[in-house]
Symmetry: C2
Subunit: 226 residues, 2 copies
DNA sequence: TATAAAATAATAGTTTTACTATCTTTTGCA
DNA sequence: TGCAAAAGATAGTAAAACTATTATTTTATA
C-alpha cells in the first residue's frame, strides 16, 4: 500500500475478483487490466492465495476499526453488541475519489468467498504464519463484549465467529440459495430484517442460560438440558 | 455408481481429496492412483467441480437417510432435533469391505471444504442445474422439525442451515483455529461437548421468543427487541 | 451367430494457469 | 550526477484442465 503500483494492484485486484470470482481471477488477467506485467505482481505477492489473504486481513482490520469507532463512548455492552451487528451487516458509502479499496466490492468478495481463506488443506501452515490474526482478533473483540453482557456465558468465542459467519451466510443465501434462509432478498428493509434476526439469535443464546433459571417449566427446561 | 469404474472413481476420489485437499487434487493424480486414464474420468465428470458436487450430494443424501432412520418412531420433535444434532456431529463406524464410500474421509472433506461447493461466482448456474437440491432438502427436513417444536418460530430455515454450518465450523475451528471456538479438540468427550453446545444454541434460540414472554425483566427484554 | 452401432478405454495432443529467469528501463533520492 | 531499487518486457517451464482421435469392448438385433 506504500507504492503507487501496490495501491493500483490492490485496487484492481478487488475489482477483478469481485467481477470474475476467485477461481477465474488470475495474475495475468490482473496484469492486463492494470496495463502491467504478470511478473511485477509476483514481486508483491507470492501467489493468488496470499493476495486474497491480504485483502481479507484488510477487511477484518477495517471491521475492527469501524467497531471501535462506532462503539466508542457507548456504555452498555448490549448496545455495543448491536452496533457490532450493524457494522457486520452494513457497508458504508465510500468516497470513490479517495479510497484505494472499494469496500463494497470487498464486502461482496468476503460474503461470497471469504471462508476459502481458511478452508483448505494448508490452514495450519498459514495459521502459523499469522495469516488469520486479524480475524481471530476481531472475533476476540466481539467475544469480550459478549462476556461483558454475560460473564458466565460459556460460548463467547463460538458465538462471535458464528455471528460473523451467519450474517454473511444469510446475506449470501438470500441472494443465491433462498431456501437456506427465511429472509427475502427482495424485501425493501432486507438489511434491517437481517440485523433483527441476528439480534434475536445472539441475544436469545446469550440469555438462554439466564432465562433457563427463570423459566421453570419442566418440559422446556428438559429440552435444553442434556 | 452403477459401473465398476464409476465406483472405483468415487471411492478413490474421496480418499485422494481427503489426502491432498481439493486444490491439490487433480484428475491426473486420480487417474494414476486408480491405474486408469485421465480422459476416462472426464467421461464420468465434466470437471473437478462437478465431481466435488456429486460427492457432497452423496453426503447430504446420506445424512438425510441417517436422520430418517434414526428418528423413525420418535414422537417428540425435540428429541428428533437432538438426534439430528447427533447425526450431524458423529460419523459412524463403516464396513470397509462393503462400503464404496469412506464416510469418515468424506465427512472430513465436508467439514474442511464443503462450503466451496456453493461459495463461488457461478452458484446461480449451478443452482439452476439442481446441484444443491439435496442440501436444501436436508435443511428443509431439519427446518420442519423446528417448526413442529415451535410453529410460530420465524427463522426455521436459517436455524437449520446455521446448525449444520456451525457444527462443521466448530469441529474445524477446534482443530485448526482454536481461538474461533470455545471447544477444545483435545478433550476426551469433544464430540459430546460439541453436541451439548449445539443443543444449547439451537434450543436457546427456538425458545427465545417463548421465554421472552415469560421472562419479563424489562432491561433484558429490551435487549432482545429491536 | 454375425455384424453394425454404441459405449468405453487409451493415447496423444492443445490451451491455460502458475510460476520463474533474465535482462532492460525507469525512478526516487543521496 | 550517480546508483540502487523498483518496475517493465520478454521468454521461458511445468503442471493443470480439457479435447480430439483412435482403438477396443459391449450390446442390440437381423
Amino acid at each position: 500500500m506504500k507504492t503507487e503500483l501496490g495501491k493500483k494492484l490492490v485496487q484492481n485486484a478487488v475489482e477483478l475478483i469481485d467481477l470474475l470470482g476467485l477461481e477465474q481471477f488470475t495474475f495475468r488477467k490482473l496484469a492486463v487490466k492494470m496495463g502491467s506485467a504478470e511478473a511485477s505482481i509476483y514481486r508483491y505477492f507470492e501467489n493468488k492465495h496470499q493476495l486474497f489473504v491480504y485483502l481479507l486481513n484488510w477487511y477484518w482490520e477495517w471491521m475492527a476499526v469501524r467497531i471501535d469507532f462506532n462503539t466508542l463512548n457507548v456504555e452498555s455492552a448490549s448496545k455495543r453488541l448491536k452496533i457490532v451487528i450493524d457494522v457486520i451487516v452494513d457497508t458504508i458509502n465510500r468516497n470513490t475519489s479517495i479510497d484505494v479499496i472499494n469496500e463494497e466490492a470487498l464486502h461482496r468478495i468476503v460474503v461470497r468467498e471469504g471462508i476459502k481463506a481458511y478452508h483448505h488443506k494448508l490452514v495450519d501452515e498459514d495459521n502459523k504464519e499469522g495469516f488469520f490474526l486479524s480475524y481471530k482478533s476481531l472475533c476476540g473483540k466481539i467475544a469480550s463484549i459478549i462476556k461483558e453482557i454475560s460473564p458466565d456465558f460459556l460460548y463467547s468465542r463460538t458465538l462471535a465467529s458464528t455471528l460473523i459467519e451467519t450474517a454473511n451466510n444469510n446475506l449470501y443465501f438470500a441472494h443465491h440459495l433462498p431456501r437456506l434462509t427465511d429472509l427475502k432478498a427482495e424485501a425493501k428493509d432486507f438489511s434491517s430484517q437481517l440485523k433483527q434476526m441476528l439480534e434475536f439469535f445472539v441475544f436469545g443464546v446469550i440469555h438462554a442460560n439466564i432465562m433457563m433459571n427463570v423459566y421453570l417449566d419442566s418440559e422446556l427446561k428438559e429440552d435444553m438440558l442434556k
